[in-house]
């Protein structure tokens, strides 16, 4: 690892999240062993946990669609993948979800950061923010927004729904979720 790489990881030094660690542990217990996605600051602790876990195959993708493709391949190869992205990217990848994951009945779990909610300071997130839940509803796909419920129970229950339905399923995390 060169000095620049160290600098990147130092940005997270001392910035751990008990909730992110708990979520990672739940993923491990549920058999997750592959992760792919596009980074978002809201998900940084989750991504670092994927990266630091030697038992996890982790591929950071160039685009959200690519992450969907990688996870589909991993699933075909017997892995249990998780995909992560920002909700802006969910719109980029929406056709891949609709035309690949749904007709192939792929139970793949998504962790999606939910920008454009109350208190949002960036205008580029407002349109996708107000459309995010409606997008998933219109696709008929299961999702839950984390609002400080018991995170382990919420995640386990979403996995159960996902495996029964055979459909991609989504956990939405708002800014500050990790505290």
């Amino acid at each position: 690892m060169n000095q620049n790489d160290k600098g990147v990881f130092n940005a997270l030094a001392g910035d751990r999240s008990e909730k992110a660690d708990l979520l990672h542990g739940v993923f491990r217990k549920l058999g997750v062993n592959f992760a792919s996605g596009v980074p978002c600051g809201v998900l940084r602790h989750i991504i670092k946990n994927f990266e630091d876990d030697a038992a996890m195959l982790h591929v950071i993708a160039n685009r959200e669609s690519e992450a969907v493709g990688l996870a589909v391949g991993a699933y075909f190869g017997g892995k249990t993948p998780v995909i992560y992205m920002q909700n802006s990217g969910l719109f980029s990848a929406s056709n891949d979800i609709a035309s690949l994951l749904v007709p192939y009945r792929m139970p793949i779990f998504f962790v999606v950061s939910y920008r454009g909610c109350e208190g949002e300071d960036a205008v580029q997130h407002l349109t996708t923010g107000q459309a995010t839940e409606r997008l998933l509803e219109s696709f008929g796909l299961p999702f839950k927004v984390f609002e400080n419920q018991n995170l382990e129970n919420l995640t386990r229950s979403l996995f159960e729904t996902m495996r029964k339905a055979g459909l991609p399923t989504f956990l939405l995390l708002k800014r500050g979720w990790h505290r």
């Binding site: 592959f34 792919s36 195959l57 591929v59 993708a61 160039n62 685009r63 669609s65 690519e66 969907v68 493709g69 990688l70 996870a71 589909v72 391949g73 991993a74 699933y75 075909f76 190869g77 017997g78 892995k79 993948p81 056709n95 891949d96 609709a98 035309s99 690949l100 007709p103 192939y104 009945r105 792929m106 055979g166």
Partner: protein
Amino acid sequence: MNRQEAIEVIMTTIGAQDAVVSTTGLISREIFEKFDSERNIYVPGSMGLASSIGLGLAMAQPTKRVVVIDGDASLLMNLGSAVTIGNKQPTNLLHIVLDNGAYASCSEERSMSNTAKLDVLAGEVGYQYVRTADSQNGLKRAIMEFGQGPGFILTKIELGGRRDFRRPLELAAIKSRFMLFFTRQTQGDQL
């Protein structure tokens, strides 16, 4: 060489246990009609993702060979995937691009592959085995000589050919039989 001839060469030259991931449109539909098999995954929508799916599969099962049959326009639609493949270095992945310089499954509108040196690009981003082929013999040889990947074979084909293929529709069943095929292979390897 046309699409039909290229597909025939690929499907009769690769190993019987190799997985096949084919791109959207006529390439998948021709393979489905003529060479349907439990080892095949078709990418009916999500144009561009065949190489990403192939990489995920190759990483998940590093002892199995994965053959991606892509098109020039679908490669260009997800060109970042070539960089990811070069970065991850899956030795078991062979990426074959059928290049007719067009969106042939639509109405043969021109793509931009004619001004891009896609084979040079593949070598520069980290593919270890790069070949070009413009004849059936050349393509057959390029496949047979493939050893350690990631491999890339840029295959020039003529535009045109049959279009009235049926579509793969029972995708959940195609998924189940593929995963059974792969599991059985894995068990066999352990004996």
